[in-house]
Symmetry: C2
Subunit: 166 residues, 2 copies
């Protein structure tokens, strides 16, 4: 294990990049404009959802993870809008859509951050299915939670991303 | 989204690095020697567990993710061995231990692979809690599953890691 390294808070820049990316992707892919709530620093491991996409980010001097957790009703509506067919259970199509959304949001945020000199590589997205699961990020660094609402239900985004200095 | 890139299968090298790392970490941290079963290529999204640690890996030409999923009885035994106190429910100590194990296994595998010229950065580990959740990796590349048994129960490891060539 590396010793804990000094970190530089760049959360506002990172939060905005992910917030804008989520809105852009859902508008483009699902013709859905989610309403962002007030972001907050995660105090407990209380992010919950029925299906979550998680992707790791790693660069020379950046480390983090991004997770997006949907309530069941909310993801059914998103997938129905993406695929044009009704969805009533979490199946392979839903899992694929969550993986794809996770990948695309991270990719758009990465492209935006790259223009500001923040470079990182994207890991493989992972999709977790289970009613009301919880997500914890194993870091002492701040994790920012962004709640969103849609007419069909809520989803939650959390991002940790920081510069490391050896 | 990037186009699908050509990949070079290096699974045996990667699988061995993670397999050895898991055994080393559990022996060192928990005085526990798990028995590895036969690794197989994941065909369905059927990795299940009650608590899972997930970490993304990303490098200039490598991309992947590593997940370790414990049955409840198994992780209670591991944590009890690590901390020296009985554990009967998934609490912050258990979540911390799973995050730590995930980070350390990935770190040891990374160090081993680095000596063979395979370099990647590690993302922040994420810990998922929910009885009998499932994990899917959103990739068309092979995902290798490694089952392990211990006297207190089973755990499952899955790794996807491959070279990308633009």
């Amino acid at each position: 294990m590396a010793e804990k390294t000094k970190s530089t808070p760049l959360n506002a820049v990172f939060v905005n990049a992910f917030l804008n990316a989520i809105i852009e992707i859902l508008e483009t892919m699902a013709s859905l404009t989610p309403t962002p709530g007030k972001p907050f620093i995660k105090k407990q491991d209380n992010s919950r959802g029925d299906i979550s996409g998680i992707i790791g980010m790693a660069g020379h001097r950046l480390q983090g993870a991004f997770a997006i957790s949907f309530q069941r009703r909310c993801i059914f509506d998103v997938v129905e809008r993406m695929l044009g067919e009704p969805v009533t259970r979490i199946n392979d199509d839903v899992i694929d859509c969550v993986g794809e959304i996770t990948n695309m949001v991270s990719g758009v945020a990465r492209a935006n951050l790259s223009t500001q000199g923040h470079e990182y590589g994207m890991a493989t997205p992972t999709v977790i299915c289970s009613d009301d699961h919880t997500i914890a990020q194993a870091t002492k660094e701040p994790v920012v939670v962004m709640p969103f609402t849609t007419p069909a239900g809520a989803f939650l985004v959390e991002v940790s991303l920081w510069r490391t200095e050896s």
